[in-house]
Symmetry: C2
Subunit: 210 residues, 2 copies
């Protein structure tokens, strides 16, 4: 089976591009994607690294907004610069984690990003979460309660630890086994790698069977 894991932080700006693009690209190649939210900021901080890619770098931050706008246009994606940056993503990531376990992370995440990036309803806000959950026909109160149980919090911590163990340092990141691809710019390469890895496994199996 062609498969890859998509690791992401809800506060990551470039991740908007990937969330909008990954489904069509992966489906076209028959690659199954596992969506895996984690907490990038917390992870970097724990490791004594600068908390975000733009911390203390005003010119890089300014460039990022311009580049993101251009890339969205390049890919034909709607774009409206959000008022809130960086958003507080803890509760959203907890809900995303619960959703990943229950099989609706992809739909939830796409709606959360759509609201943030096209209607300026900030990720992490109560409004963003309730609207995203309601649009999926979910009971917002119930989901928020379930997302804050100790077991679910642990799940998110475990995902963040797993990301760290894999050598992940940014979002979006794509992994196929131990092979790592970082950035929306590497989405196509990651999908191609997943396809090639599957072909290599099939060839090895045929050879073993022969």
């Amino acid at each position: 089976m062609k498969r890859m894991t998509f690791w992401f932080e809800y506060a990551s700006t470039y991740t908007y591009l990937t969330v909008s693009r990954i489904d069509a690209l992966a489906q076209a190649q028959g690659v199954v994607v596992d969506w895996r939210p984690f907490l990038l900021g917390a992870m970097l901080k724990d490791r004594g690294m600068v908390e975000g890619p733009f911390t203390g770098q005003p010119s890089k931050l300014r460039y990022m907004w311009r580049d993101l706008e251009r890339r969205a246009a390049h890919h034909g994606l709607p774009y409206r610069k959000p008022s809130v940056y960086p958003p507080n993503t803890l509760l959203t990531a907890r809900i995303g984690t619960l959703a990943a376990m229950q099989g609706w992370c992809e739909d939830f995440t796409r709606e959360v990003f759509r609201l943030h990036w096209t209607e300026d309803v900030a990720i992490g806000s109560d409004d963003n979460l309730r609207r995203a959950l309601t649009s999926l026909g979910r009971d917002a109160e119930e989901v928020m309660r379930a997302a804050q149980t100790e077991g679910n919090k642990q799940l998110l911590r475990a995902a963040t630890d797993a990301a760290e163990a894999l050598g992940i340092f940014g979002s979006p990141t794509f992994t196929i086994g131990e092979e790592l691809f970082w950035g929306d710019d590497r989405l196509e390469d990651a999908i191609a790698f997943a396809v090639a890895a599957d072909a290599a496994r099939s060839a090895a199996r045929s050879q073993a069977a022969a």
Copy 2:
């Protein structure tokens, strides 16, 4: 005229990809490229920013080497991991600056990178500089003397200040007017922008003349 400026730091790893690719891509679109060396590390340090993109980020550094190797293969470029990282690039940048003024920066830079990235003759080493200069039929002693004159040092400082004023924070960077593109991944976009900017200027001139 279709034109863009290619700002670069000799110590930048991804810049190897650009140095190897830019000529063919720009020529195919009729874009003239001005090669402009500057000192990225010194600039970031002066601004109180972390000195390099990988400082204190071991997992990002490890990823960079793997990604670079993959990208070189993707573009069909020879690649051999250099023993020295980061190289000391002050004298090389001074010679590149002199060369830019005299019209041979491109040939010099390509050879300096080729030696570093295919023969492991480290950028900044005496061997690298002498071999690059000699292969261009230049008198190495004379060039080194000329590169260390106060006037030439000033030129490099001025280029670094100009890069900072433009909001440059990394290498390679491409500028067309005030539009900035960062990274080898944006080389094609930058060239397309230079072509479009020229077309827009021509249209404006025709309209003014009509």
